[in-house]
Symmetry: C2
């Protein structure tokens, strides 16, 4: 049986299909619950939520499903704030702010990890079945604390070395993010360019080197991709873009429409939105900011600086200035309920296995 393995047993899910924890309002409680109710693992992308929003979302999810689900957190980064760098970035961003009639410039304070610490406590209080992490591995003491409360730990890696580091840290499983993946790169050691490894190459090479279950991510949208991931040596597959366009997803209409009308060769990697490399559909913001990319403040500083731009662009329906995160698989995406997507993936796998 293709759907019975260590991963599905450990988590207690019917199918090894994981919905990526896309942050920024995409993973509504309705989406997370729909995926889990259909037999996959829904994931709340809590990276940009505060403690209150995190708890509220979790409680809503629990009202909608009694199946296991995951919460994705961003392992915090605390770069120093250099005011000159921030001022320079603000200068480059001002044409976009002007065009959108944004008068206030975000104030950047010292970066704190308070929200993350509160979120960890919520994971424990709410007895979250699976907690996944992006942007690095949290401290040993935090992982230990979660382990003692029987929270399953899922890391993210983009190279074999990062997968090994996840295994050594005590993660129960690790998402291997190939270069095809939409949204932020999970690379946390070395240069992100070197770590742009295609899923086809990344999975078998990692499977030979680590023993914890691997979850393939990047370019996977349907039964072909999920079954191929299992063949390559993963025990599950994570789908992001394919769930972004579903009915329950909170991605705004312009974002969904951009993905649904996009080709495989229209996305690119940009650091301009957040200070961290991420894959999105190429638009005016990415093209105009490209020349400054190497001089922008680090994540999450740049992310805070562009937040009003992204927000207003969404409200004013200006996709050219929104972060249109998207993997290299937009042609395979559909507008449909998440449960139907999962049912289609499952029946495609069963057809392929005949």
């Amino acid at each position: 049986m293709w759907n019975k393995n260590t991963l599905t047993e450990k988590i207690g899910i019917r199918y090894p299909i994981i919905q990526a924890g896309m942050a920024g309002g995409i993973t509504t409680p309705e989406l997370v619950a729909a995926v889990s109710n259909a037999g996959g693992l829904g994931t709340l992308g809590a990276g940009y939520l505060n403690a209150e929003q995190t708890q509220e979302s979790i409680r809503k999810i629990k009202q909608l499903t009694d199946k296991p689900f995951a919460v994705n957190l961003f392992t915090p980064e605390t770069p120093e704030v250099h005011s000159e760098e921030v001022n320079q970035a603000n200068k480059w961003l001002s044409p976009f702010r002007e065009a959108l009639h944004i008068s206030q410039v975000p104030e950047i304070n010292e970066i704190q990890t308070t929200v993350f610490d509160q979120q960890i406590q919520i994971m424990i209080d709410e007895q979250i079945p699976v907690c996944s992490f992006t942007f690095g591995i949290p401290s040993r003491s935090i992982l230990q604390q979660l382990k003692e409360e029987s929270v399953l730990l899922m890391g993210t890696a983009t190279t074999v070395a990062e997968a090994k580091a996840n295994e050594e840290s005590g993660m129960d499983m690790v998402v291997m993010q190939g270069s095809e993946a939409g949204g932020h790169r999970g690379t946390f050691s070395g240069s992100f360019e070197d770590a742009m490894i295609g899923t086809m190459a990344l999975i078998p090479q990692t499977a030979d080197q680590v023993t914890i279950p691997l979850i393939a991510a990047g370019g996977i949208s349907d039964g072909r991709g999920v079954l191929a991931s299992l063949v390559l040596g993963a025990q599950g597959a994570q789908l992001g873009t394919a769930f972004l366009t579903t009915s329950e997803s909170g991605a705004n209409k312009q974002h969904k429409q951009a993905v649904l009308s996009s080709r495989e060769d229209q996305s690119a990697i940009t650091s301009a939105f957040s200070g961290k490399p991420a894959r999105g559909i190429q638009n005016d913001f990415m093209i105009k900011m490209k020349q400054y990319e190497k001089q922008l403040p680090a994540y999450p500083i740049q992310n805070s600086l562009t937040k009003p731009i992204r927000g207003e662009a969404g409200k004013q329906k200006r996709p050219e200035w929104m972060s249109l995160w998207c993997g290299q698989n937009p042609r395979l995406c559909k507008s449909e309920p998440a449960g139907e997507r999962i049912a289609a993936v499952v029946s495609q796998i069963e057809r392929l296995q005949k």
Copy 2:
């Protein structure tokens, strides 16, 4: 049966495993014949051979096997020679020439297509079963001529649009080259950066849009990769780097050793060796030339300029100045006879199917 499909039937091979037509002396007649004798499709990489060498290699292959094999040709490009650009490139290349004690600077004449035209005639005269093309689609009249002589035509594409163009041109099948692939990018329309699509995303999206058989390429080295390619919608898989390190391969010892000791995150794309983007293990030449990449002469002019450097670096065992072409899958490569690699791929697929 995983190995029975339109592709294997058309070509008359036992397994849908194609050895990439790597140019530059790697695909010795012994390698091509070993692959074909083991049930795959061996390919002579004739891109850099003259007419005489092409014919001689074909005749040797025929002495070593009575199975079908392919010849890969480079669809010619004839950029104008700008002497200022060439002089500038020579200035940048002079430190490497000096270090290798190369006194002569290659003379660049107007680019001709004579060799390609002669090679096409050889395909016909020698009744080559399969002729594959990289770097674009030859003229309609050439393809027509080959079709009339029952030569099967195999194109190369890196996007869905390029695959459609291949299908419309009359190609019988098309290699879909994912971003993981080693050596030169086959992109022939649009920017190569946009066409860096991972194999996992490229295959299913193309399979939905064209009807000729697809051959997956990029990051595939073993039974897992070949079976995953079939699951994704391809009818075959092309392996390059995995055959580069075999005993019969003509790659020099330093090149083989570099691949065998390399990690998945050590290759990068460079145009510095040939004027055309290609993936190789990052070395001193690539790093030092990176800053000039956008100002170098086009392929094949830059290729001619660096030829003595690559040649001498090989002779003097200086891998830091050689073109160490390699895909993102070096950890899966072994030093073994090509026939053993194919047998291992086949038995791994059969185990995976149980």
